[in-house]
């Protein structure tokens, strides 16, 4: 890759770190692993993103935010494509992302291999760290959340459910 293009690439990735998921405002779209491609040709940039869940309602909002952010870098033409077929997995969330989720008191998803099964549905309590917890329901306030209960600190908490 040409040096100038490489610099522009890095600039775009850096700018995207400032675009947050509106449903989880502590984590950026890059830490979520939903940016699948960045291309620079001349004075144009093209970013491809994927929804975590097919029906994610935040996708249009994030798309606008990404476009605005990249335009601020001075590109003449910025295109943001949505790849609805890319198989995003919670394994794509970066380690930094998982740490931020936990700090936000939102239990990060466990690492999964292959298809999820009921064995994957466990979470440590993000308030007290206890593993003495149980799944209340796999459907929460947004599509990506499951609701658990902690028997030690007696609090409900949410988990980014593994996918």
């Amino acid at each position: 890759m040409e040096k100038q293009v490489q610099i522009q690439h890095n600039e775009i990735w850096q700018a995207l770190e400032e675009v947050k998921d509106p449903e989880i405002p502590v984590i950026s779209v890059t830490d979520m692993g939903i940016i699948t491609d960045v291309r620079v040709t001349g004075n144009s940039a093209c970013v491809t993103m994927t929804p975590t869940f097919v029906a994610c309602p935040a996708i249009d909002y994030m798309r606008e935010q990404i476009k605005k952010k990249v335009e601020e870098l001075g590109f003449e033409k910025v295109e943001v494509l949505v790849d609805r077929e890319y198989k995003w997995s919670t394994n794509d969330i970066s380690e930094k992302g998982k740490r931020l989720l936990k700090e936000f008191r939102f239990a990060p998803p466990p690492k999964i291999s292959g298809d999820i099964s009921s064995d994957d549905l466990h979470a440590a309590c993000p308030h007290c760290g206890s593993k003495n917890t149980s799944l209340n329901t796999p459907f929460g306030s947004t599509l990506c959340r499951a609701v658990y209960y902690c028997f030690d600190c007696r609090q409900s908490f949410e988990q980014f459910k593994p996918k």
Partner: protein
């Protein structure tokens, strides 16, 4: 597939605010959102790859007779036991269908199938949990589940009605066919039914066919009218 997901998604959304407990209200609402998203992604493939009208046009401006959903999805929600048993039979079939489609020669469909299957897993887990619980909870819950199984089973068999494109889809290796799917489905539901001590109706059952040919129950039309009520006020409005 898209029409099944859209129509059952709409039915699921009718539980919003009415679920028997808060968690079930949220569960059916979340599954509604997932399913309508699946429908939208499928309509987008039809639009972009096969020249069909846009997803919005297909949903809001298509004649009822051009819908291909099976009768199972059209039926009103009834009481919770009916909705749960329908959800159980339908989502096991969906999970099996998308698993087969991961091998499809239609590349976009194959990719989408992988993405969607991770979501359907939660739908099936949810259905299995409640079916197993309620089939054994007490006399009333068990008798309600058993009577719903009797009513829903012939409707569920209608999922596997072949469309007129069945041979072509199989020849082009886009889909392995409804008979293969039905066998996979039976294999998938059997262990849950056994654990719940539920027996499927015996003898010759007439499946509820017609949906794949555009012949619908009287329940589809009012559903579509309600879905389109706001759109029809001003079809050219920008959202």
């Amino acid at each position: 597939m898209a029409d099944d997901a859209l129509i059952l998604g709409h039915r699921n959304s009718e539980w919003t605010g009415l679920g028997p407990i808060l968690e079930e209200d949220i569960a059916f609402s979340s599954m509604a959102q997932d399913k309508i998203g699946h429908a939208q992604a499928l309509y987008a493939i039809l639009h972009e790859e096969f020249g069909e009208p846009s997803p919005d046009k297909l949903v809001y401006d298509r004649d009822e007779k051009k819908f291909r959903c099976c009768h199972l999805t059209e039926m009103p929600n009834g009481e919770y036991d009916f909705s749960l048993v329908r959800h159980f039979f339908f989502d096991h079939a969906e999970l099996c269908r998308y698993k087969l489609l991961e091998q499809s020669s239609q590349k976009r469909l194959a990719a989408l199938a992988k993405k969607i299957r991770g979501e359907l897993k939660y739908h099936v887990m949810h259905a299995d949990t409640w079916l197993k619980k309620l089939a054994k909870a007490d006399e009333e819950s068990r008798s309600r589940i058993l009577s719903s199984v009797k009513i829903v089973y012939p409707l569920a068999l209608g999922i596997f009605e072949k469309s007129k494109w069945e041979d072509e889809l199989m020849k082009k290796e886009i889909f392995r066919g409804e008979e293969t799917l039905q066998k996979e489905w039976m294999r998938s539901i059997q262990p849950v039914l056994e654990e719940s001590e539920i027996k499927l109706p015996n003898g010759k059952i007439q499946p509820a066919y017609g949906g794949r040919k555009g012949e619908h129950t009287g329940h589809l039309k009012p559903l579509l009218e309600e879905m389109r009520e706001v759109y029809k006020l001003d079809p050219d409005a920008e959202w």
